[in-house]
Symmetry: C2
Subunit: 349 residues, 2 copies
């Protein structure tokens, strides 16, 4: 019988953050692709677009006028999925399968820059520092509201990720409950902490920094790695090297280092297929429920859909939806490709 | 304080099959959509396409020639994600985060019909009966292989679901482990069965058939409903009314009734936006590990991505990936829309 070769043989990998497995089929990346291709936008954007509802000075759908902002600009989402109004909940019928509960929350949009044509990799480090400070302020302000227990900071980038406006921006959805994925992560971090007295992601990062093969870029304070259990072809996670539970605990040096690693990672992403690389990213950190949460470790996920080129993405469909997430290229190979890419943006060459 | 109104107020619903919540924002379906639109294929397909590798008599990429098949036709996937070869696994290092295990399996393609231009809703009931019998045979044959413990039958339909060939076909991935989603479902079904001595989905279906508001179509043996906890806008689930753990336990009447409900449901889907409606579907049933599994109940999931029209889909992205699945239209409203649609295919009118 042949000996197991993780670089060649179909296998499953275990994700301890959410207690789920992923199916890895290294040999399968060779299959030809005859399916759907994504549209690739190659039109250069203007610095200011009079039609864009996020550009400074423009009027949004609800009639409000954006200020003439310079750094970042935050406003309440005009079509929020959550509402702030408190609701009188009668409760569910005992034993019924129709179990629901009202959910209160606040949903905001964060414009990253007045420049319509820049995304993170093309902004300068100061501009990114400004975004991080905005995230810190929002985490503090929203977290201070008594009924808000979780603040989800995220970005959908690119039309393939459901983003309808190329103006650089992210969102924040703050709410009373811990969302499903966060609750799962917390449960696993907590169980690990209770058992070992240490932080799961700190311990994991130490192993990764020893073997190095999944590290994409690192500096004194952060590392960007392709997790051993990554499901998306070029998924990465930025983890702080120090045990930090939330973004407001960053030192000034850490804010700067985080800005640098964000710029480097997203530059490599753009360079991979020489395209504005689509992804959804999001920060996972301690809930704002007033507890200490030593089990938490600040980290940021990047879930990019592209697989082979600017136009061919990975489809997480039938088997993946019914069975299990599946990937065709190993995390080690993806990390190597990203690591070897320049830290200078392809448009700047 | 206003009283909670499930038709108007943001809320979360609980899915007991996988122990997860979904965020429902009924008011949000009114937001305008300026984002990506899917390409809509309106070109009529020929009955036979000389370029199609699934059509009868044609030669596939690997040089094999398809037989001149009449009903359905099954072959091993030429680019399988799983391999049959047994692998000698050394085991994982104790306590390491790099936890992997080799996975053995078989991956097959099931052509539904020699007709290149027909999908389920346009096939006649006999043709669908033939597919169900093929699924039964595959479940039996694959399940009988000693190392195969799970047989996942599924279909990716439409280019937006990563399907690269419009020729009607599904897939079967059979493997040694229970995939993540199936394991989760089994754990919850089992816990319910151990606690109540009854079947979760049987009990749930009884509640649904009493209130009726989420039933799309039903007959003597099956019901198609939009689950109370559905995440996709027009997600449905077909459940058998009798306690049946696997497809091979169907009576002849049940096979016929399943074919009829499959045809009716997919016809309504096509009629919704007058388009060949994309989805991923898949059957969840008892594993083939040789145990009895009374906790299981045969059911089939349909996860269709479209939200507002043939070209506008729901994006499960940033918040959904980092936080929790989110929907904009209530399951009750979706069920009503589907229920009110004709059972005659729009092309036949
Ligand atoms: O096997 P196919 O049709 O080539 O591929 C499609 O279905 C598979 C199973 O859901 C997925 O893994 C692929 O991402 C998808 O493109
Ligand atoms: O809020 P947006 O940008 O209009 O919408 C986008 O992001 C949301 C949050 O991830 C998703 O719920 C939507 O499906 C997506 O299109």
């Amino acid at each position: 019988m042949r000996k197991f070769d993780i670089n060649e043989d179909p296998h499953r990998r275990y994700n301890p953050l959410i207690n789920e497995w992923v199916l890895v089929s290294p040999h399968r990346s060779k299959r030809p692709w005859q399916g759907q291709k994504e549209a690739v936008n190659t039109v250069a954007l203007p610095e200011y677009d009079p039609e864009c509802y996020l550009c400074a000075g423009n009027v949004r759908m609800n009639g409000e006028k954006n200020p003439d902002y310079k750094g970042s600009f935050v406003f309440e989402n005009d079509f929020a999925a959550l509402k702030q109004e408190p609701i009188d909940f009668g409760g569910n019928e005992e034993g019924s399968f129709f179990k629901a509960q009202p959910e209160r929350g606040i949903s905001r949009v964060v414009c990253f820059s007045p420049r319509h044509d820049l995304t993170l990799p093309e902004m300068d480090v100061d501009g990114i520092v400004n975004i991080i400070q905005t995230w810190q302020r929002e985490y503090t302000d929203l977290g201070a509201i008594d009924y808000i227990n979780h603040v989800q900071i995220f970005e959908n980038k690119g039309s393939v990720m459901g983003c309808s406006n190329p103006h650089p921006h992210g969102q924040i959805w703050a709410q009373s409950s811990l969302p499903t994925q966060v609750q799962k992560t917390q449960d696993n971090l907590k169980a690990y902490f209770d058992k070992n007295g240490t932080n799961l992601l700190q311990d994991y990062l130490k192993e990764e920094l020893k073997v190095k093969e999944r590290v994409v870029v690192e500096n004194d304070h952060f590392a960007a790695i392709v997790p051993f259990w990554a499901i998306w072809p070029f998924e990465t996670m930025i983890v702080s090297k120090r045990h930090i539970t939330k973004i407001t605990d960053f030192t000034e040096d850490e804010v700067a280092a985080f800005a640098v690693i964000l710029k480097k990672l997203t530059t490599k992403y753009d360079n991979l297929f020489e395209t504005s690389f689509p992804y959804s990213s999001g920060i996972h950190q301690a809930p704002t429920d007033g507890e200490a949460h030593p089990e938490w470790q600040f980290h940021m996920h990047f879930y990019p859909p592209l697989l082979r080129s600017a136009s061919v993405k990975k489809f997480m469909v039938g088997y993946e939806m019914m069975g299990e997430s599946q990937r065709d290229i190993t995390p080690e190979k993806s990390a190597e490709m990203l690591r070897n890419l320049s830290e200078v943006h392809y448009k700047q060459k």
